[in-house]
Amino acid sequence: MSEQYTPLDDIPRVLASARTAFLSDRAKPVAFRKQQIAQVGYLLKDNEERFKEALKLDLGRHAVETELFDFGPTYKDVRVAYDNVDKWTKVQPVDFNLNYIAMRPTIKAEPKGVILIVSAFNVPLFLTLGPLVSAIASGCAAVIKPSEAVPHVNLLLAELIPKYLDPELYHVIQGGVAETSKILELRWDHSEFSRGERVGRIIAQAAAKHLTPITLELGGCKNPVVVDPKVDIEMTARRLLWGRFSNAGQVCTCPEYVLVPRTFQSTLLSALKDAYGKFYPEGPENSDSFSRIVTREHAARLQGLLKRTNGEIVCGGDVNVEKKYVAPTIVNNVTAEDALMGEEMFGPVLLIVPVEDVDEAIAFIRARETPLAVYVFSQDKKFQEKVFSSTRSGAALANETVLSPAVPGFPVGGVGASGYGYYAGKQAFEQFTHYRVSLDNPSWVDTLVFGFRFPPYRDTYKRYVKMMHAPLPPRPTKGAKTTGPGVAWTWWISFVVSRLVSASSLMLVRSSDALRRLKP
């Protein structure tokens, strides 16, 4: 469908149009932003059937998965942003501080400019429209480059976005490598990118040239699961397989490998097999509840990986590259060096890695790059806490997988190798926002306190400087010196005195305000 690609020459024009529209300030009123945010919701709502159909074509995906992974989280983003944008954009005062209160320091949320959103194929609506909602909420313009791997979804987005939203502020660019390279030559005010560590580095380097801040949502590393033998085993098996096989395993937050104590391994396996049987009673190939891999190349890559494993395939294992089909697969007795333990698999293959105990499981996780999520299945709070506090990850979920991006108010984001910055919620809004600080200093402040700063500097400055210097917290007790009670008393006396000064200065502010009002 390459004939649908945006002509290369048009790409700088798209940015210029977005920038001009942004500079026109029409995205400034919060009412306008709310209206556009709502429109993102109706863009989906009015076309749900068409999107489900497109995703059926692009990913062989059942409507339930589209509802759960794309519609639900996007509607949630719409609602959260719509309900909170008034609060988020309110001018914030700073905490009371004697020396500065008269200057009325405030913090104001201002938009960064034009946001570039390069989204992945796997959850194409949420990863595109979610950041778009955040960009709109912060008052920015946005240009979206959806993945070329889901052409039917893209066609719809390109058709609908200009219909529902301000067509100059928000744009879609379609294309592949050439178009993306062209996009990356341009200067954006913030770039957001999901999936693929290698491309992530390219994006980051291109952004560095223009000093553009970025958000990277990389996945990239495998999300581990730690299973405690004292757990509801049926629930564990069901939620694990669901997380791994939904969308044919093409979800960044998928559980990739399960660390299970050897003594419990056979119990877990038979529970997994039971759940597998229930999920696909007539076999997964005939099930309408199982998606396909996005491209033949990716299916072939998974086939290659499966051939090279030294583990034991206990469920699934068959691949039909032509049909982009990789069976939901469970591989048992996978070791740390196995071919499947290399990069993130991004397909419906769940690995069982036997370990001695929870300590070995923790050491296994810590020896690898920081994942997007760590999952624990356990009813024991101490067990959960031990795993979570000894590991790092974007998300830490107990007795659940994948679901966290759907929770209203949760940011979605990695740490370390799994990326940085956030999707969704207030954190994403803040990322597209510059907090511009402001103050207004009345002239009498110099008379009262700040006059000492002007040259020529006199020795008496020390008195004033001491007033400016915040008192330190008590000295940590390990050292030889401690703050004696005498010192503390003088501090309190000076505190009371400074309070009195502040009261008089406040009165001065008020009276000067009153005078100002009296003057015509």
Binding site: V78, A398, S404, V407, A417, L439, P455, V465, A470, L472
Partner: protein, 511 residues
């Protein structure tokens, strides 16, 4: 000139590894530990105020008062605020109540990113080095500090003091020049904060990109001042000259050029002359209240630009490259394309640019890169608002210059070419923090609401999906269907009551 001992290149990866190991040991998890270290940053300064003031006197010819005001006050303010606020900042955050999710106890936990690298410049060396350190400690990180090699006395001193006051494995100083910095940039850090210029900023960002390291860049730029002729001219002149001449103009937030209505230029300059006299009664060269330029190279650079200006020097103008002296200087009738306006001067030279009116002033600001600050001198809120709302900048300040960085609670940060990310306060704490989301989903939730998600998918899934999907806001341009919404809320309440009953019965069973 003091001599600075550079860190050995082969030691740099070791320092990095030590900080990482110390971080991995988990000892920064304790908030009490963090608070003790934060307090120690304060005492590191407090106990050595005189030595630091002397070091900066030697490095920058800087009067003690400026060190107190620009460096000490800002760090003490930061230490105190962060110390008092940290317990509140690290508390796990609950999300707004939400029906479908509250049984899972969703929360956000503030976790440290790892080991932070802070590369600081020469101009406000204590504040720019130690205030991000306070934020890094507060968030539970390790940190490696790289002070500027252009302030040898101070950088030597801080390398001596830091290990005495702070955990010497978690927090370290690396001293050096280009070779040492290049070596540092080869290593994987968990966040890099750099303060300086755009050229190096790009190098830092590109090096960080290789390791997918997030960065904060504080780059400066040319900060404009817009003067309203109806403003108290004495106050304007005084605060402008103070902001421009403090630290010999070597402050990222210093006002860089003044846009003034042409008919008001003479009045402003007359007032500046008076103020200038009161600032330097015996001439600036003999004044002990005026700093020197950091290096002869920078002095030469500023001199060259002064030599090339088409404007008219009305105050100062004298230079002595050997002595690193540039007189506090005011230049009038400076055209927009002048040598003094091409890039940041970073010295004590204030160009005055006459304009027709405020609209021309705004259009000049808009034609240039976004600065760190826009300053307005006016008592007319409409005038202020007009300038601020038509421009973009890190800070928007009325009737004052420079001091925003010292106000506890105000973040310091640029936008566009003036950089991104923040110094100080909660914003810097959050920048060094990863918000790790967490939830715990009880088994029964699948029975009540989330069971439909498992294959084989059944045709009746729609009714469950509706139950867990957020309702949309009203369609723009229409009245929302109130009746429909009522039905929705009723259903909502019913499902709610049902799940509460279930939770309770489950709890009783357990008991």
């Amino acid at each position: 000139m003091a001599t600075l001992t550079y860190t050995r290149i082969e030691d740099i990866p070791k320092i990095h590894a030590t900080a990482r190991e110390a971080f991995a040991s988990g000892r920064t998890k304790s908030i009490a530990f963090r608070k003790a270290q934060i307090a120690q940053v304060g005492y590191l300064l407090k106990d050595n105020e005189q030595r630091i003031k002397d070091a900066l006197k030697s490095d920058l010819g800087r009067p003690y008062l400026e060190t107190e005001l620009l460096d000490f006050a800002a760090v003490y303010g930061e230490v105190r605020m962060v110390y008092d606020k940290i317990d509140q900042w690290v508390k796990p955050q609950r999300i707004d109540f939400h029906f479908n999710w509250f049984p899972m106890g969703p929360k956000l936990v503030a976790e440290p990113k790892g080991v932070i690298l802070n590369i600081a410049p020469f101009n406000v060396p204590v504040f720019l080095l130690l205030s991000p350190l306070v934020s890094a400690i507060a968030a539970g990180n390790g940190a490696v500090l790289k002070p500027s090699e252009q302030t040898p006395a101070f950088s030597q001193l801080i390398a001596e003091l830091l290990p005495k006051y702070l955990d010497p494995e978690l927090y370290a100083v690396i001293n050096g020049g280009v070779a040492e910095t290049t070596k540092m940039l080869e290593l994987p850090w968990d966040h890099i904060l750099y303060t300086g210029n755009g050229r190096i900023g790009r190098i830092i960002a590109a090096a960080a990109a290789k390791h997918l390291t997030p960065t904060t860049l504080e780059l400066g730029g040319q900060n404009p001042v817009v003067v309203d002729p109806k403003m108290d001219v004495h106050l304007t002149a005084k605060r402008l000259l103070w902001g421009r001449f403090s630290n010999a103009g070597q402050i990222c937030l210093a006002p860089e050029y003044v846009l003034v209505p042409a008919h008001f230029q003479d009045t402003l300059i007359e007032e500046m002359k008076k103020v200038y006299k009161t600032f330097y009664p015996d001439g600036p060269e003999n004044s002990d209240s005026f700093s020197r330029i950091v290096t002869t190279a920078h002095t030469q650079r500023i001199k060259k630009r002064l030599d090339e200006t088409k404007g008219k020097v009305v105050l100062g103008g004298a230079t002595d490259v050997e002595k690193r002296y540039i007189a506090p200087t005011v230049v009038r009738d400076v055209p927009v394309d002048d040598s003094l306006l091409t890039e940041e001067i970073f010295g004590p030279v204030l160009p005055i640019v006459p304009v027709k009116d405020v609209d021309e002033a705004i259009s000049i600001i808009r034609s240039k890169d976004y600065p760190l600050a826009v300053y307005v001198f006016s008592n007319d809120p409409k005038f202020e608002e007009k300038v601020f709302s038509n421009t973009k900048s890190g800070a928007a300040v009325t009737n004052e210059t420079v001091i925003t960085a010292g106000v506890p609670g105000l973040p310091v940060g640029g936008i566009g070419p003036s950089g991104y990310g923040y110094y100080t306060g909660k914003h810097c704490f959050e920048q060094f923090t990863h918000w790790r989301v967490s939830l715990k989903n009880p088994g029964w939730v699948d029975k009540v609401a989330f069971g439909f998600r498992y294959p084989p998918y059944k045709p009746d899934y729609q009714k469950y999906v509706k139950g867990i999907t957020s309702s949309l806001p009203p369609r723009p341009g229409t009245q929302s269907g109130t009746a429909k919404r009522w039905a929705f809320w009723l259903l909502f309440a019913l499902v709610g009551a049902g799940s509460v009953v279930l939770t309770r019965s489950r709890g009783q069973l357990k008991a």
